[in-house]
Amino acid sequence: MQVHGRTPLNIQQATTPHGAVNLILERCKGCEFCVRLCPQDVLFLSKKTNSKGYHFPDIAIGKAEACVHCEFCTLVCPEFAIFTTALEAAS
């Protein structure tokens, strides 16, 4: 994906090898699209809720480095809430 928009402000670089998953917490409505459509099963729906009461995605156990930055989660999120950023080849 080529994103021409301006670069998000506060992405804290994570340590996953290929992609880092980012979430604007309060935008999430817990639809689970990102969770269930991720080809790598990177995500799961948290038990926790945001202030609107929606469960949001989080990295599944053991999947901290599994994201391949395929961006499917980014593309199917109806809320402009989740997106991944490429990581320079780490590990």
Partner: protein, 277 residues
């Protein structure tokens, strides 16, 4: 392990982020379709200032309110002639109509068929969620026969339009159907439509869990996405006869998706000074 917390999104420049979160329900597919459109605008080779979106009324019609470009949220069914007026008055504009199935095909049906016939150079993105979401799940001209809705408590007795067939019969220049699961194709398709003069009609199937889903035992958006995953079959122009492109969600019929028509009719041009003899 928590995902990173972000405060803005790569597409925030092209959406009206001050208006987020949008009004769409959890699991609604409209946001995905809009996302594809937003990204296409960023990727296309067209000055963003020339990009215009026109919507009618409906949940899908709210897209105009969320796109950070010149955007017009008109009246129910009238987005197409409004858009046509804009395009003809200023041919530099890339005018996209983004609206719902009810808006475009029920109340707006006359403008749709005439715009397709004239081959007016506008791009129509139609979110088809098989019902009127905004007003609470009434059936409409895209609701499959037998499906339920708040105005069809005993089941819909009407046959829906086969939209691609209808558009083909009107002479549409470019015609495709996808679902919000087919995000990459939708993006490419919108980009292609931008690049191609003439009337383009892109139908995007999307879950409406609160309207269509609720009346039809589709629990949530995800379940409808899974239905797409199972039933969709990508075809190419000519693979399937136009009259077989209708959608019947009850039966085990496939839902055909793909690019159905890609012609090169000259786009509508008003008579110009040059042409007067």
């Amino acid at each position: 392990m928590p995902v990173n917390r972000a405060e803005s999104h790569p597409l925030d420049a092209i959406i009206r982020q001050d208006r987020m979160p949008h009004i769409w329900c959890p699991g609604c597919g409209i946001g995905i379709a809009m996302r594809c459109y937003a990204q296409a605008i960023l990727q296309a080779d067209i000055p963003i200032d020339n990009q215009v979106v026109v919507s009618g009324i409906g949940c899908s019609g709210r897209v105009a309110g969320y796109m950070n470009i010149d955007s017009y949220h008109t009246t129910h069914g009238r987005a197409i002639p409004f858009a046509a007026g804009m395009k003809l008055a200023n041919p530099d504009l890339m005018v996209t109509v983004f609206s719902g199935d009810g808006d475009l095909i029920s109340i707006g049906g006359n403008h749709l068929i005439h715009a397709a016939r004239r081959n007016v150079d506008i791009k129509v993105i139609c979110v088809n969620n098989f019902n009127y979401g905004m007003t609470g799940g009434q059936v409409g001209p895209t609701t499959p026969q037998g499906a339920h809705g708040t105005t069809a408590p005993y089941g819909n007795t009407e046959l829906p339009f086969n939209l691609p067939y209808l558009m083909a019969a009107c002479g549409a220049n470019y015609l495709s159907r996808w679902t919000v699961l087919h995000v990459r194709q939708v993006l490419q398709d919108i980009l292609y439509a931008f690049s191609k003069p003439g009337f383009a009609f892109i139908e995007i199937l999307a879950p409406c869990p609160i309207g269509f889903g609720k009346s039809n035992n589709i629990l949530n958006g995800l379940e409808e996405m899974e239905l797409y995953l199972e039933r969709c079959q990508i075809i190419r122009d000519g693979d399937v006869r136009a009259d077989e492109l209708g959608i019947d969600l009850r039966a085990d019929n496939p839902i055909y998706i793909g690019k159905f028509i890609d012609r090169d009719r000259p786009p509508y041009q008003p008579v110009g000074a040059g042409e007067i003899q």
